[in-house]
Every structure is written in C-alpha cells, then in structure tokens.
Symmetry: C2
C-alpha cells in the first residue's frame, strides 16, 4: 500500500460519469513489409501472453468503492492482461472517419477502478495497409505529456529493430533521443498543469479568504488582456460522451507562413492562428460567435524563449492569449495573436521560476478546483479553450518494423471547458487532437475542415 | 415531464460503476442472398437516416446528475441517433469467440444518462456470412423479457418481407404470433421480477419490523428445501466489468432426454440439469464446490402447468430449486431437481394469484433491496444463482430477408449474485445466455463446454 498524493487522488475523487479523468493517445502505423492479414491479431496474442508488467501499470485504488479507499494505491496481484490489452476492428471501409468514431467511443467510457487504470486497444482494418493503437490511462496515474512521452519511449528510430516491448513492460527500451521517462516531465510545456495541481494541493486545505487572494492575483494577471473572456458555447456543463477529431498538416506549410509574416513569429503563433480561424468559422456556422474575442489558455515552456533572460531551469508559464476571433482578416488576426502572446510572455520576464509557477497556476485554479466536488467556482470563465502544444520526436519512429505515421493526443474536457485542443509534432508534421463533449460541441469533425481552410487562408493572405 | 414510478427509478438510483442496470440481447443473422460486402454498413447508414423514434426510446431522466432529477422522465428533443445506433466490426477471424469478447465489453459499460437509455450496435465481420446486433436498454425503461419480446416483434416470419423498421421506430410491425408488445408482459415467466419490484415498492417505505415479517415468511417458504443455500463463489460483491458467453443446443436432444426420463419431466427440468452439471464441473475445476447443493431461483409461469388447478389468469411463481450439485450421478441429479421443482410448485397449489405474487416476491426481496443503496440486506443468500427460461418464437424469423439464426439474452448480475443464466428458445434450439462479473466469475466461457458435457452425460446415462 502506498498513500496517494492529493494530486493523484483529486482526479479520482472528482471523476463522475460526466467527467472521465483519463488521457489518451492514438497512434497510426504502417504494416511492415510482408505482414499477413493476421499480423495485428497475432501481435495482440503476443502482447497478452507476455505477463511482465511494470509496477506503474499494476497499481490500482485500494478500495475502489469508498472515497477513503481512493487515497491509497495497492498492487493488483491478479492482473487480467486480457482485460487491459484489447483487439478491435474497424467496420468497412476502414477510413480515418471510422477510426475516429471508434476512438471517440473508447475515450468516452470510464476506466474500471477495480483494476489498474489503463487500457490499450489494437485496431485492425484501417485502410491503406495500416493499423492503429489507442491507449488510455487515468490522470491519477500519468498526466497527458508523460503518457505521450512514455508511448514514444517504447518506439525505435531503427526500422530493423525487433523484439520491442510494449509500454507496460518493465523491459521497455527508452532509446529515443527526444524521449524522457515518466515522472521526469519538468521541461514539458504542460508541466504547468502539474504545477497548477501542486498549487491546488496546497489550496485545497485553505479558507475561503485565501481563495479571494488568488482571485485578486488572477485579476491582476488577466488585466493585461484589457477584457474578460466572453461567455461561449464551450463554457458550459458537460456530459460524459466524447467526440474526437484528429488530422495533421506539414510543418513546412506552417513554417512558410511563419517566415512570410516574420517579426519574431513562431510555429506556435501560426498554430494558434489556425485554431482561431477554425473556431471563428465553426462559431459563425452555429451562429454562436461572441462579440468579444475568445481567450485561450496556453501552457508554454519559457526556457529558451524570445523573452530572453535571466531565467534558469525549466520555467513553464500559462499564457492567456487573445485569439482575435472577432477579426475577419486572417493576417490581422495572426498579428493580434502574436502581440497578445508577446505581452503574455513579458509578464513572466524577470520572475523567478517559483514565481512563474505560482502565477501560471492561477488561471488553472478554476479548472483544477472544478475537479474537486463542491469546491469554489470562479466566474466568469478565466479562458474559453485550452490549447496545448507538446513538442514530439523529429524522426520517424518504428515499432518492430512498423512505421508510425501519426500520433494524436486525446485530452480531458472539464466542467465549463467542453473543448480541448492538444497539438504535437512528429516527423515533419503538426498533429492536432481535438477532444470535445459530444453534446456541447456538435459536429466537432467540422473543425478539421475549418483548420484546413484557416491554414489555406493564412497562406493566401501572407504568401499569395 | 412524467413522474417516474419507483419501479423505474430504483434501477437508476441503485446503479453504480459496479452495478450497471441494463439488459441486452445478442442476435445473429445470415446475410441475405446477394448481400454485398457493404451490406451491414449500408444498413447502418439507413437506420441512422430514419429520424422517427417512438416515445419510449426518446425519454431520458429529467436531471441526470442529481438523484431527485432521476424521479422524472423527460423527452430528448435533440435525439442524436448516430450516438445510439452504432456500427462495429469484429477482428479477424471473426468467430463467435470474437463476437462474445466484443459483446462482453459493450455490456460492461454504463449507459449515458444524459440521453435516452439505449444503444443498438450492428456488428459486421462475423464469419460464415453472418452479422450480429447487440441491443442494450436500461432496466428502468424495459425489463429483460419485454426487451426480448420487443426485439422479436420487429422481425417477420416472411423471408420476402422488406421495408421493415427497427425496434425504435413508431411504425414497427408487430406481426409475430408469439410476440407481445412492451408493457404487456403479464404472462411472461419473468414477470415475477416485476411483481417483486412492486412488492419492494411498497416495502421501501416500511419500518424494520416489517422486514422481519418478510424474513419470517421467507424462512417458511425455504423450509421446504430442508437446507439453506450454501455460501458460494457467486455470492460475493461484484465489479462493473462483464463476461458474456452464449451457445445453443437442439431442443430435440433435450426433448429426447426428457422422454427417456419420463415421469412428468419437462424441458425446463433437463435445462436445469444441464446447468447443474455445468456448475458442478466448473466449481470442481476451481476447487470451490460447496458441500451443500446450490440453490437456484427460477421464475416460472404456473398457468398451464402440471400442478393442475384452480388458478386463473397469469400466475407467476418463483421456485427455489435444489440443483443437487453435490450429486455425481447425472440421472440421480436430474431426479432430485425434478423432485425439488415439483415440491416448489406444490407450495403454490390452491393459492390465489395475489398470494402467489406476494410469496414469490419474497426470495427476490434481497435482490431487489440490493438495488436500493443502504437498504437492509438479508443473509445468508436466499439462493446461489438466478436461472430464467423465457419461451421464444417457434418459427424462423427474418429481418428484411436476413434470417435470424440465434438470439441470446444478456442479463444483470447483482451484488451477491455474480452469475445470471437466462435461456430462451428459438426455432428448434434452446439458447443459453450467461452473464457474469468478469472478476468474480473467471473463465466464464468454460461453462459452455461444461453445459455441452452435461447434456452428453445425461444422454449417455438415460438414453445410452
């Protein structure tokens, strides 16, 4: 038995049918040369046969039924690997559309607390000679960035390497240059979420007066926006069903836009402009575009950033960014986003790492508090949508000779935050994963078309 | 808005992650002549396109999050048919084994209370030119027998009939001779469960002294067994994951055994002897066979039964049957079961329908009370396993030309009742559906082999 830190247990205590608290990853692979029609089911049989599972993937809540029992971890001595490692298939014609439909469904169901809090599904029947894997792990076990990293560490840059182990194996290789092992996520742009959780851990025991202090400090930070985040269709109570959409775009296209606009712009700025353009189109189509611009919360690594400076170590800040969704012209929209991001980073200038962490945690507090039943809610919404950008591996990765062609993160919509956009990079592409509440964010798939249009619009306006 | 009867809401209030309260049905179909490879996906597209849905399949709990809101039904005005009607596929090689694996998983996840409480999944990729459907409906909406009946009413005895509607359509045909529409389940052998629920409705407001009266009355009925149901591995707390197994055997084989044994024996007796033999083998294999014989609770229609008699109307009784699992000889075991069933029926002899209903409800009270959180629990277990036999249609049924080759019921394991066996008949076969808690009833599939062996054993002993 191990006492569970509050940062783990809060995600268990807050979980409900409406608020599953797990993250996911969708990976696409090419079938290796010479793979027969039973390649995937044979792979599944092999994976289920291997009985060695690392401790992280063996632990489960001590007493899953009572709240108190959720405050301690125990080991599952009777691990039923066939339960965790599943084999599924896509209905014909096996397009990405069918894959996303299945993934949405898998991401919308709760993990079984009587067992270690993870599932891994091999998916066969994907057209163009591919297969996919969907991994699901509870936030109490691993946060999204650590989970994504862990997935990558089990892959190899060498297409000829064989006998590679799955992520739950204690003998998994960790030979990827960009990869880090779980726990060591200090430098990740999303570590801010962990930091926020740590702040909330200390907050949880505080009196309401302390929450007022946090409120005031938050108002100070958001004052740089000169406006409040408007109410939007994304800032509503949510239900448990999920819709997931994913697509990638070549980094070269995004870099070309960045180059054309110049002025210290980043790939992240162009990514945000794509999101902004897509959200604007989506909201106009549903006649739900607020007059005021949407505000995004963006966890960012501030280490080697253009703010330059006196910061040492792995400083991570949460930036509140004006997405300029009220602006029609794509170039003007991108310019406003760049300005807002620059101002947001400047707030952190000259601060110590500890100060940055504390300040960054503030806009995340409502989100984190929302995971504690009955906790204080801060209104109006501090931001409208959470957009994260997690750098991924630059080179193509392989799993026992099968080339990974794409990897897409699935995240957690929270109460009042019905849409999450998480982006990662991989082998020359920028890969978008959009996770939404199926009821509050209808026709989520349309955002993919809108993202595509938004990029084309930027290219037309800036490159010609 | 419609106030929900307690018999509906108790299943919503009692539901938890460990105790999903839905029933299911698995149907297997032959692809009709000339069906192309996209037959099932085209069927799915058609079903999703049809927007007319009968009121029963439109209603959902008024306020799914608070307990109070679960006491009223409301209509879903924004029904998302694509959510309810799903298309899935089996991984290769698409045997019944893969089908049961998928069905187990589908049956183990909770329905979304923000939507009407049903799901319908078309399953393609089943070998030997077949497809399957899995239907899932909350017990608060329909009980198992009504759900099974409703499924059948949407089918036709005419292989040439086309333009048939799905069960949720208000224009569904009800042209099957054996079929009855939902609600009208008075004559069903499982109506006793409804009756028990009605008794519990009245019980729910009673003082503990009243529960004592029920206890005493129950002891009186079970005294005819001359022993108490032993503690067994099935009478434990359960988890939410399910395992489902299903198989059919020709009624002719069962009738031949019945004929050989003579003495007023019924198909139901032989079915129970199969269950008994299978449970005995299963428990011996796990070194968990109690010294005392297992007791089964069997809801039975007493109307046209051998007890003869003075009963009018649709009387339904719950029989507590000694399964004689302590007896090695299959013929002796069957004889003991027959004796126990005869004695059980005699208890009801000369009673009014109301008395029968009240008395029958008694052994179900612990089960029904177990669905009310914090309600009194009566120990030791009144019985070890619930076995139901629901008569089905005699003639082959078709759905738009696709012949149904099998239909298997999926039921609800309760706290302390980790295994449920429900049997139905269809077109010359007896079809077994076994639903168990995945953790408490390991290797559930082995019961199918044991059932097969148990039948062979009876044939050998009695026919030679």
């Amino acid at each position: 038995m191990a006492i569970m830190p509050v940062t783990d247990s809060m995600f268990l205590l807050a979980e409900s049918r409406e608020h599953p608290m797990h993250v996911g990853g969708l990976q696409l692979f090419e079938l290796p040369d010479g793979a027969g029609p039973d390649y995937v089911s044979e792979l599944h049989r092999e994976l289920v046969r291997a009985a060695d599972v690392r401790p992280l993937f063996r632990r489960r809540p001590m007493n899953p039924v009572s709240s108190l029992g959720q405050l301690a971890w125990t080991n599952d001595d009777d691990l039923d690997l066939e339960y965790h490692v599943r084999l599924s298939a896509l209905p014909r014609p096996g397009r990405v559309r069918e894959l996303l439909e299945l993934t949405s469904r898998l991401h919308g169901s709760l993990l079984d607390r009587h067992r270690p809090l993870w599932e891994y599904t091999l998916i066969e029947g994907l057209e163009r000679n591919r297969f996919a894997t969907y991994s699901k792990v509870h936030h109490a076990l691993l946060d999204g960035v650590s989970a994504l990293r862990l997935l990558q560490t089990s892959l190899s840059e060498d297409p000829n390497e064989r006998d590679m182990r799955p992520i739950w194996s204690p003998r998994v290789r960790t030979g990827v240059s960009a990869g880090r092992v779980d726990g060591d996520d200090g430098g990740s742009p999303l570590a801010g979420l962990r930091a926020a959780a740590n702040v909330v851990r200390d907050l949880a025991g505080l009196a309401p007066t302390a929450v007022k202090v946090i409120n005031d400090a938050f108002r100070e930070q958001s004052s740089m926006l000169a406006f409040k985040a408007p109410k939007s269709m994304f800032n509503v109570p949510i239900t448990g069903a999920r819709r997931f959409a994913a697509q990638d775009w070549p980094l070269d296209r995004i870099r070309a836009v960045r180059k054309a606009v110049g002025g210290g712009s980043t790939v992240n700025d162009v990514m945000l402009a794509m999101c902004s353009g897509a959200l604007r189109r989506y909201l106009i189509e549903l006649d739900a575009l607020p007059d005021k611009p949407l505000v995004a919360a963006i966890p960012m690594s501030l280490r080697a950033d253009s703010t330059g400076g006196d910061m040492s170590g792995n400083a991570v800040g949460i930036i509140l960014c004006n997405l300029a969704t009220d602006v029609d012209d794509p170039a003007a929209r991108l310019a406003e986003i760049m300005t807002s991001m620059r101002k947001g980073k400047q707030v952190y200038h000259g601060m110590s790492q500890l100060q940055i962490t504390a300040l960054s945690a503030i806009p995340m507090v409502p989100l984190a508090l929302a995971t504690i039943p009955g906790a204080v809610r801060i209104t109006p919404p501090a931001f409208n949508v959470l957009i994260s950008n997690v750098p991924g591996p630059r080179n193509p990765l392989y799993w026992n000779g099968a080339r990974m062609t794409g990897v897409y993160p699935l995240s957690i919509p929270y109460e009042g935050q019905a849409l999450n956009i998480t982006v990662t990079s991989y082998a020359g592409d920028l890969e978008f994963g959009l996770t939404g509440c199926r009821r509050s964010v209808p026709h989520l798939q349309r955002l993919l078309t809108h993202l595509d249009d938004a990029l084309a619009e930027l290219e037309k306006a800036l490159i010609g």
